[in-house]
């Protein structure tokens, strides 16, 4: 196991531990690192990594990122509930996880009865784009029919969603709150890329909800997230192909197409089929 040589991956920030976690070792971009308080070092050379603290997490970078960790405006709103949902290890490429998070067409099949149900399977047209001014991928005007949009609603309705990809290894969902239609719930999924096909994923939520218990909110997000695990661990190849002809997208995959094009433009190799050769079959 060795550190990637991919400069795009090296020059980014990644969560590696919760603040105040016990000292320990973990993997980042193929390299074992040691965490002790706010200090992060390579286990092999002892070299210190740059660190930052945000949202109760310790971030680290092997390189010199041009940008700071992206912002979440919602984190500054005092009436929001901040709900960290834990750390989950998946045997999957972090990029496959981001792409799955952007996908609505799987709701009725993977999140049956929660985010969607047959026969309401159609993905209406939405807009996806690479925003050059902020260098992010966005998908907007996304709607999807959910037969149980909230516990309080008995009739189904279309949920209104926007997606934002602020870095190659993180993704945010904004959802119109059923209880406060002029505001958006924000759910971020951050990645600690341990290897090209092993990832710790950290869901964080900033919600407008004064009714549900904390445990209920965590439970809801964890169930959805774990339903996706079986998908991203069983896609072949495990790593994300960026060549347009490797897979067959449809109109519903507009956000995925924009995301892959953006990654290709950046020249990212880590976690893609252009990365280092893998031992074994996948």
């Amino acid at each position: 196991m060795t550190l990637t040589t991919d400069p795009v991956a090296l020059n980014d920030w990644y969560p590696v531990a919760g603040l105040g976690a016990a000292p320990g070792r973990t993997l980042l971009l193929g390299q074992e690192i040691e965490i002790d308080g706010a200090a992060v070092r390579r286990t092999d050379t002892g070299a210190a990594l740059a660190t930052r603290e945000k949202w109760g997490l310790l971030f680290a970078s092997f390189g010199a990122p041009e940008r700071e960790i992206f912002d979440m405006a919602e984190a500054a709103e005092p009436d929001r509930r901040f709900v960290p949902c834990g750390w989950f290890t998946l045997r999957a490429s972090p990029l496959r996880i981001v792409e799955n998070f952007l996908d609505m067409a799987h709701f009725p099949f993977v999140h049956t009865g929660i985010l969607g149900d047959e026969p309401h399977t159609e993905v209406p047209e939405y807009r996806s784009e690479i925003r050059r001014d902020v260098d992010e991928v966005w998908a907007t005007n996304c709607t999807f029919f959910q037969s149980q949009i909230a516990a309080t609603e008995s009739a189904g309705d279309f949920v209104q969603l926007s997606y934002r990809v602020p870095t190659p290894f993180s993704v945010v969902l904004y959802r119109v709150c059923p209880s406060a239609p002029d505001r958006l719930d924000a759910i971020a999924l951050l990645m600690q890329p341990m290897t090209e096909v092993l990832t710790r994923a950290i869901p964080l939520m900033w919600l407008v909800d004064d009714r549900s218990s904390h445990t209920e909110l965590v439970r809801f997000e964890q169930v959805i997230f774990l339903q996706d695990k079986i998908i991203v661990e069983n896609q072949r190849p495990l790593r994300l192909p960026l060549e347009p002809r490797a897979e067959i997208p449809t109109r519903a995959d507009g956000s995925s197409i924009a995301y892959r094009r953006w990654l290709k433009e950046k020249g990212l190799r880590f976690g893609t089929t252009a990365g280092a050769p893998l031992a074994g079959t996948a």
Binding site: R219, V223, K229
Partner: protein, 204 residues
């Protein structure tokens, strides 16, 4: 009979076995979600007062508190209107129920290691060995025309064993080498009232 409270965590396979048993037996329970990850609520003083080993599931009915999964499954079967047939009333049924509790418990530890980093990664080898033994059993049962681990009909032992196999892909063990368990799991999934859990593919 009063309605008991089942303390449960949705991502835990033993809690799932309890919910599955309650659903198939038709036993009414009040679910109480526990924030195991990341809240570590099972380690809290309040939870330890209920369950001294700090484990879910827990089944509480008045002063009676059950903290051992197999006792909980059996009690839920006893309570449900369709549950009598599930009770482990033969020596073999009890034997396989204890196999689930002892030998196949490695599957839960392997899964916790893979998912949360809190279990025992070496448990995967033990869990695979236990599943091979179970595969042998269901192979022989299948040839004898008995679809379940201790007979022609499902029992609490099947439900206690089911998550250990059905969720094995969570810790990296595919189902390719277990044809008898694959067919057995399908039979369980087709039982009226079956409920799933995250990690099990949806079923038509």
């Amino acid at each position: 009979m009063s309605v008991p409270v089942l303390w449960t965590y949705d991502l835990d396979e033993a809690c799932y076995a309890a919910r599955l048993t309650a659903a198939l037996a038709g036993a009414e329970v009040t679910l109480r979600a526990v924030d195991v990850v990341p809240g570590a609520e099972t380690g809290s003083a309040a939870f330890r007062a209920l369950s001294p080993m700090g484990r879910v599931p827990v089944l509480v009915d008045g002063k009676v508190v059950l903290t051992q999964t197999e006792a909980i499954l059996t009690d839920l079967a006893r309570r449900g209107e369709r549950g009598a047939a599930l009770l482990p009333d033969t020596p073999e049924a009890l034997d396989w129920l204890i196999f689930a509790a002892r030998d196949l418990s490695a599957a839960g530890r392997a899964r916790a290691a893979a998912l949360f980093g809190t279990g025992d990664a070496r448990a995967a080898g033990e869990a695979r060995a236990a599943l091979l033994v179970l595969e042998d059993r269901l192979t022989a049962q299948g040839l004898r025309g008995a679809g379940f681990v201790a007979g022609n009909t499902p029992g609490v032992a099947d439900l206690a064993l089911f998550p250990g196999f059905a969720l094995s892909r969570d810790w990296g063990l595919g189902h390719e080498a277990f044809p008898a368990l694959r067919l057995w799991a399908r039979r369980i999934r087709m039982l009226p009232g079956f409920v799933g859990m995250p990690g099990l593919p949806a079923f038509p």
